[in-house]
Amino acid sequence: MTVPSSPAPLSWRILILMAGLGILFGLGAFTFTYAEGTSYISNNPETCVNCHIMRPQFSAWVKGSHHNVATCNDCHTPHDFFGKWFVKGVNGFNHSRAFTSGDFPEPIQITDFNRNVALNNCRDCHASLVSQVVLGGQHEELDCLACHNGVGHDD
């Protein structure tokens, strides 16, 4: 099993700009508003579910252990300011495009990129609990999802 490495510390400032432009010009304003692209700007989980495609995850999250402690964005966007807006931009573009074209795998699979975003958030919230094991002397960080795959939403 390979343990994915963390996303490279990129220059968030430049990338967020590019992503923002991507949403506006790449998608077209119609799709953005009609498909509730603005959802990506809010922190409210209900807004992710504006896309019915996200409903299974939402329903499972509501029943899950993190319901009271973490929203979609707490896991799916980086916890630092710039990273957060960059990821929102990239995903907003990708998902809106996919939703409009209907061209995406069923069942939906998380990308390596977004898997790493989630992983870093586990380690961030649970830093003290996992302080000994996360490295345990090794160079590679522990892959929480190898064991806790379903914590967010076991759909």
């Binding site: 099993m1 390979t2 190898a146 795959n149």
Partner: protein
């Protein structure tokens, strides 16, 4: 990155006393890592029997009397018990009749004493292996130790046993490239594997160049013309298999999904506000919540049922294979009584060996089939087939000699 630095700080922050490069005593390591040390020392506890495993060192020969005849002429037929915690690794070896009735080589020490790497450095690899066990036993004081698996400076997992490095290198695997998850299996695969003593120097060797499954291993021994002993009743050139946990696990679905030995045998436990790897190595049946439930979202009862169902099926087939092996031995003995020569019996003896080593591969593998349920059943099906064919071949020889 930030997480990494925090974690490093947490781990090395605990270091009260640097650990010497040659430190073997777990207590000395435990000064820095008391949570791991405390659990590690619990391997002394007898938590009792599970249906087929556990820590009660009962006699396997009494529970499965067929073993006495199946291993006739080999030391295992005199003394062989259910294994128990790492705490006993050195003392159980020192006390077994297998080191008393036979003059064993130093090679035995490789997996039973933390002193092994030091002695190897001192004596050299070949010399260490062939020096008599009894000449070295005085120098052994520590059975299993943190040093077997960890680098004292960084606490990284490390491989300390040459036989495993040699075997993996021969298979073209570079251990320095191993991922963290692989290391969580490899540290165990230093010892929980099939082995033999090669050549006059009794060099500890793992028979893996053709592959890890029993058919590959059998072919390896045949090509080499190797035998562990000659069967006292049938006269066949036999192979004894010991604890092939790593090999059996390799063919299973957990391995295919990257699940390591440590995931089930050293699951995380929470100690106060921190989680650590449970160093009380034992049967997961003693600990199903932590060992399985993070991955399998079902009740402890259902998990236990899964393990025991796979084991009961394996055990049923083990008993059938034993019955077939005894019938084969009887038939060969009868053929010899009727005057058959080794040459007449060549095919029967070959089949006896093949049947016996396949049964042994499953019987000596300590999970009773759980590590790879379908593969364990496949191997036993072949064992039964070969044993019955050995019986048929021997009876055909007898019939021919009696003039049919």
């Amino acid at each position: 990155n930030i997480n990494q630095r925090k974690a490093e700080a947490a781990l090395t922050g605990f270091v009260i006393q640097p650990i010497a490069a040659d430190e073997l005593d777990p207590a000395a390591w435990g000064v820095n890592y008391p949570l791991q040390y405390e659990r590690f020392m619990m391997t002394e506890i007898n938590y009792g029997q599970t249906p087929y495993g556990g820590s009660e060192p009962y006699s396997k020969l009494e529970r499965y009397p067929a073993m006495v005849r199946i291993w006739a002429g080999y030391a295992f037929s005199v003394d062989h018990n259910e294994e128990r915690g790492h705490f006993y690794a050195q003392s159980d070896q020192e006390n077994t009749q297998r080191v008393q009735i036979v003059n064993q080589p130093g090679a035995c020490i490789n997996c039973h004493s933390a002193e092994a790497p030091g002695l190897i450095a001192e004596l050299g690899w070949e010399e260490f292996n062939h020096t008599p066990y009894n000449d070295l036993v005085e120098r052994l004081h520590t059975g299993s130790s943190c040093a077997d698996c960890h680098d004292p400076a960084t606490m990284e997992l490390r491989i300390t046993r040459p036989a495993f490095i040699n075997a993996m290198t021969a298979r073209g695997i570079d251990l320095s490239e191993a991922t963290r998850q692989e290391m969580r299996t490899y540290v165990c695969a230093q010892c929980h594997v099939e082995y033999y003593f090669a050549g006059d120097n009794k060099v500890l060797t793992f028979p893996w160049t053709n592959g890890l499954n029993i058919d590959d291993i059998s072919e390896y021994y045949t090509d080499l013309g190797f035998k562990d002993w000659t069967h006292a009743e049938s006269g066949a050139q036999m192979i004894k298999i010991q604890h092939p946990e790593f090999e059996m696990w390799s063919s299973g679905l957990h391995a295919a999904n990257g699940v390591a030995c440590a995931d089930c045998h050293m699951p995380y436990i929470r100690e106060g506000s921190i989680k650590v790897s449970d160093h009380w190595l034992r049967s997961p049946l003693n600990n199903l919540e932590a060992a399985c439930q993070t991955c399998h979202n079902v009740s402890v009862e259902e998990l236990e049922r899964r393990v025991v169902t796979a084991q009961n099926t394996t055990a049923e087939l083990l008993r059938s294979a034993e019955a077939a092996l005894l019938d084969a031995i009887d038939a060969i003995v009868a053929a010899r009584a009727a005057g058959a020569s080794d040459e007449d019996l060549a095919e029967a003896l070959r089949l006896h060996r093949e049947a016996s080593l396949r049964w042994d591969f499953v019987s000596s593998e300590n999970s009773t089939g759980f590590h790879s349920p379908q593969e364990a059943a496949r191997i036993l099906a072949n064992s039964i087939d070969f044993a019955r064919q050995a019986e048929l071949a021997a009876k055909a020889v007898t019939a021919a000699l009696s003039g049919n």
